[in-house]
């Protein structure tokens, strides 16, 4: 049993230490794995706002992950082919600048989350799960047949996008970018959780009637949470595409949505560090078990089952049970 702060610092510090050790030992592939952890964590931190704080079991967050990915892919594609991007009313040039791509990715995924949220949040429970899934599947099938951008073959980006002052092709530098963004998102999550918004959102999850009787609208709280959540997962999608220098419809697939939920359940729902612990476990299992057996996901399933049955708070809950209370 350790304190929550200690657990958070250990996990985040551990991720950084692994990347730095890999740099010293000249193991670029390990740095890439650590980068993958950071990006999946970021995507799951986004989902954790909706799922953990808001209690919204979105089975469609791949929609935002994919939108972020395609925002990057399309902008970079037009930049590398020197073709303008036709938006109907006007055309814009593509770009290889990460900050611009991130902004576009976040705005587009926030807009998508607003539209999906407006429709899906009218329902709850299984219906909410199914509707969010259905939206993500719509994007999936749309990109499958979107031949302008590679259809089911996806889109390759030859050179990783740039960030002012850094060489993003150097693995540790790209890791650094993802790591800093992850830390910023974790900090945002922490502030949100304890801010008035977090109190209202958490109350709307636990006792929606109470929230209404103090004059607040649970629906609006959830919608704002869903939009913030989608924007962060969208940003993670743009980074993921940059990591692989490749986007394809699989970013929109329901497996992706499911994986993000699994990460959070493994790590600890609504726990700040839950998504990071989940992503570490996931990537480690994927890499090591995946190397030994094609059926590694069965073992992942067994672990998940054990956690759901015996450790509802996930790994974070086992290591540092949540204390409630304040001064």
């Amino acid at each position: 049993m350790i304190s929550e702060r200690m657990l958070n610092l250990t996990v985040i510090g551990g991720l950084l230490a692994v990347a730095l050790a890999a740099l010293v030992l000249d193991q670029p592939f390990t740095i890439t794995l650590a980068t993958r952890v950071a990006i999946l964590s970021l995507a799951a931190v986004g989902l954790n706002i909706a799922l953990g704080l808001g209690g919204l079991v979105s089975f469609g967050h791949a929609a935002f992950f994919g939108i972020g990915g395609y925002a990057m892919g399309i902008l970079a594609y037009h930049a590398q082919t020197y073709t303008p991007l036709d938006l109907g009313l006007f055309t814009v040039a593509g770009t290889k600048s990460m900050p611009v791509i991130w902004l576009v990715a976040m705005v587009l995924s926030a807009l998508a989350a607003l539209l999906i949220g407006l429709l899906a949040l009218r329902t709850s429970g299984v219906y909410f799960i199914m509707i969010t899934l259905a939206f993500a599947q719509m994007f999936y099938y749309f990109t499958l047949s979107w031949s302008a951008y590679g259809g089911e073959d996806g889109l390759s980006i030859y050179i990783r996008n740039g960030f002012p002052g850094l060489n993003t092709l150097v693995p540790i530098q790209f890791f650094g970018i993802c790591f800093v963004i992850l830390c910023a998102a974790l900090y945002l999550f922490h502030r949100l959780e304890h801010a008035p918004f977090g109190l209202a959102l958490g109350s709307a999850r636990q006792a929606p009637m109470r929230v209404e009787t103090v004059g607040l609208s649970p629906m609006r709280l959830r919608l704002v949470a869903f939009v913030l959540s989608g924007a962060i997962t969208g940003l993670a999608g743009a980074l993921f595409a940059d990591l692989n220098r490749f986007v394809s419809p699989t970013m929109f697939s329901w497996h992706m949505s499911g994986e993000l939920i699994v990460l959070i359940i493994l790590g600890g729902v609504a726990r700040l560090i839950g998504p990071v612990i989940g992503a570490v476990l996931f990537v480690v299992l994927e890499h090591y078990l995946g190397g030994m057996t094609e059926f590694w996901k069965i073992w992942l399933g067994v672990i998940l089952l054990l956690i759901v049955l015996f450790a509802r708070g996930g790994v974070a809950g086992l290591l540092s049970p949540r204390k409630v209370g304040h001064d």
């Binding site: 958490g202 109470r210 929230v211 009787t213």
Partner: protein, 249 residues
């Protein structure tokens, strides 16, 4: 006579063949406690839900300070001045007592669209919340998790949250239920003083409390108000004795 603070006109509600509210017209005037009594399943909670916005009446009107609020959401009725407590506590169980009270203060004094500063550092909300917890006798337990409270303590917290709203009218569904004799007496004292701030529509099974507190009593049976009057009138009413007091008291 001045305008009633809260008024229902012909509220009617059926669930299939069951008539849970039948042409209910009652009012709540400044400074009074108006008790609603009636046997289990009479439709008391249904009436409260129609007043507060959880249930849409099939017919009739709810008026708050002269304004028709029948079409308004629960949240907007709360902002217009309805302070409600639930028969079955509706509290955020994982949160602390103080956090639950501060949610009320946030609803009354501010909006939830603040994403950065910790809510517990908001001294304006905290002061209001703690003052109301104190009045409900819960200040000592402010950092306790609601899930760890006794049933009676949750009733007290229900009251405290309603107090944070400083409503124009209180609507309370069985605030005494499960309090025990001592708790009931204390709650009776609190409600007695409270009517000077805002009138109370009080649904309650505890007849001692009702007779001690009520300025007026309405008796609800099978969704219909069969009598309204002072404590003395209701006690003397033959139909009431037969329909309700006769079997219960």
């Amino acid at each position: 006579m001045t305008e009633p603070i809260l008024e229902t006109r012909g509220l009617t509600k059926s669930f299939g063949a069951l008539v849970a509210g039948d042409d209910i017209s009652i009012d709540l005037r400044k400074g009074e406690i108006h008790a609603i009594i009636g046997p289990n399943g009479a439709g008391k909670s249904t009436l409260i839900q129609m007043i507060c916005g959880g249930l849409k009446p099939d017919a009739g009107q709810v008026r708050l300070m002269g304004r028709d609020v029948t079409g308004d959401s629960t949240a907007s009725r709360a902002r217009a001045g309805l302070g409600r407590t639930f028969q079955i506590s509706a509290l955020a169980m994982e949160n602390s007592v103080l956090q639950n009270a501060m949610l009320g203060a946030m609803g009354a004094l501010d909006h939830p669209w603040r994403f950065w500063r910790p809510v517990l550092a908001r001294s304006d909300l905290r002061d209001r919340a703690e003052a109301c917890l104190d009045r409900a006798g819960l200040l000592e337990l402010r950092s306790r998790r609601v899930a760890d409270l006794s049933h009676g303590e949750r009733r007290q917290l229900e009251l405290a949250v309603a107090l944070t709203l400083q409503p124009r009218a209180f609507v309370m569904d069985e605030p005494m239920a499960g309090l025990g004799a001592g708790g009931s007496a204390r709650m009776t004292e609190v409600l007695d003083a409270l009517r000077a701030e805002a009138p109370i529509l009080l649904v309650e099974h505890d007849m001692d409390a009702v007779f001690a507190l009520a300025d007026r009593i309405s008796v609800l049976v099978y969704g219909r108000v069969i009598a309204t009057g002072s404590v003395g009138e209701i006690r003397a009413n033959a139909a009431v004795r037969e329909a309700y007091l006769g079997e219960d008291a």
